[in-house]
């Protein structure tokens, strides 16, 4: 027999999963620190890649100047500047990553609470149903008791 109540609940849960699942499920598999640090590691690699690409473009851009004025001091200075720029940008980007993913983790945790609450309600529904079935079984109640 169709149970409308249960169907509504299950549809609600499925909708919730579909909408929020993307943000919740990657987060709830980890502890907060693990989740954030894994994201920060990823950010570190993508930032480094981008920086290397940009430096390559810059080298191509100033190739002529570099070749003409082959001055060691100048090159060392440029390398220093590049290093400082790299570190400063990295710190900034990692900080942004940290704050963004910390917020997302909190959001996911709250979503998870809602999700668990929904599941519990569904579970109760199931319990209620199986109990009613047991009680309304033909002569079930007393037989069960006598058997026990």
């Amino acid at each position: 027999m169709l149970n409308e109540d249960k169907m509504k609940l299950m549809t609600g849960i499925a909708m919730f999963e579909k909408k929020e699942g993307k943000s919740i499920f990657p987060a709830n598999r980890y502890f907060r620190s693990d989740y954030i640090s894994s994201r920060m590691l990823r950010s570190f690699f993508s930032y480094t890649c981008c920086y290397i690409l940009c430096v390559m473009v810059w080298i191509l851009y100033s190739m002529e100047r570099l070749l003409n004025a082959m001055n060691l001091d100048e090159i060392i200075l440029a390398a220093k500047m590049a290093g400082i720029g790299y570190v400063a940008g990295l710190v900034l980007y990692l900080m942004i990553t940290f704050f963004v993913y910390r917020r997302r983790y909190e959001y996911a945790r709250r979503g998870m609470k809602v999700y668990v609450a929904k599941l519990k309600r569904l579970e109760k529904r199931y319990e209620f149903q199986s109990r009613t079935k047991e009680l309304t079984k033909e002569g079930g109640r007393y037989d069960d008791v006598s058997r026990a």
Binding site: Y47, L53, L60
Partner: protein
């Protein structure tokens, strides 16, 4: 007004019935517009120029997510640029990779702003993007919109200097590189348009969030005025020439489009606003409730009551 509301309801029910089909159709149109615009404005690679290629790619795009469509468009654009000049293709590719890694690592899923922005510029309605971004998105949309503007100016540069770039075999690669980067970085029109877009998104977003009556309409109008003013200020400060007639016409069209978006997404009836006030242990709440405009779809059915043939039969 009533007619539009009914139309909206009908569209809604149509979408409800054919959601998968409509999504595919929208993606198809979106991708086809992108490919055709690229062909029309760049179109240097003759193999891609024939109308069959965009059509096939757009058909395939109907089944792809938006991120993948953006990726296809980017490859298509790079192929065209590469035919003209390896240097610009390299710079563009680096730019796209940096944006993809640094921004889309965080926020996958709004790559359409990156595509829609150059499209709006090519259709001469640049102001519509900040308006829509402010109405639909959050403040972060400023980033993809700005990147879209940079892309548009790269396209523009390639289009204008195509002849120069292909014929200049005598100039060596490093010099060409310097030329390209200098032209892109020192493009003041681009800087002005980025500033305009940022100002537009900020103003629209902040006003939309206010709890005053007609906040959305106010946001659209003020956003457009701010953008126009910013363009004129930029024009004055940096000596960037802008065609005024085209600009005003574009602004007008942008307001119209933003108005249509507003109508479909946020139709509320301010004349029936209700205020209420209550409190709990910790707070006092001042609630303003604005009802949404709702009409039921007219359901016209003709039922004939006096059917003569049936009546006679019944009497027998």
């Amino acid at each position: 007004m009533m007619m539009f509301l009914v139309l909206k309801e009908q569209l809604k029910s149509f979408y409800g019935r054919f959601a998968t089909f409509s999504n595919g159709a929208v993606k198809f149109v979106y991708a086809l517009t992108g490919f055709l615009l690229l062909n029309q404005n760049l179109g240097f690679m003759t193999q891609l120029k024939s109308p069959v290629v965009p059509l096939i790619l757009a058909l395939a795009s109907a089944f792809l997510p938006y991120g993948a469509i953006s990726f296809l468009l980017a490859l298509f654009m790079l192929a065209h640029i590469y035919t003209v000049s390896f240097e610009i293709a390299l710079v563009t590719a680096v730019f796209l990779i940096v944006v993809a890694l640094l921004y889309y690592g965080f926020q996958p899923g709004d790559s359409f702003w990156l595509v829609l922005t150059p499209m709006a510029f090519l259709f001469k309605i640049p102001f519509v993007i900040p308006l829509l971004a402010g109405l639909a998105g959050s403040l972060v949309t400023v980033i993809p919109v700005s990147c879209g503007i940079v892309l548009y100016y790269i396209l523009q540069y390639v289009k204008q200097n195509a002849g120069l770039l292909t014929n200049d075999a005598s100039v060596d690669i490093t010099q060409k590189f310097v030329q390209v980067i200098k032209a892109l970085v020192s493009n003041q029109a681009m800087m002005v348009m980025i500033a305009v877009a940022v100002a537009g998104v900020l103003v629209v977003y902040l006003i939309r969030m206010l709890s005053v009556d007609y906040a959305w309409i106010l946001a659209i109008v003020l956003g457009t005025i701010v953008q126009l003013a910013a363009v004129f200020v930029g024009d004055y400060l940096f000596d960037v020439s802008v065609p005024i007639g085209e600009l005003v016409a574009g602004a007008f069209l942008s307001v119209l489009l933003a108005g249509i978006y507003h109508f479909f997404v946020f139709a509320v009836d301010y004349s029936r606003t209700e205020y209420t006030q209550f409190e709990d242990d910790e707070y006092v709440y001042y609630v303003k409730a604005v009802p949404k405009v709702a009409v039921s779809k007219p359901d016209v059915r003709v039922q004939r009551i006096n059917n003569p043939a049936g009546g006679r039969r019944a009497r027998r």
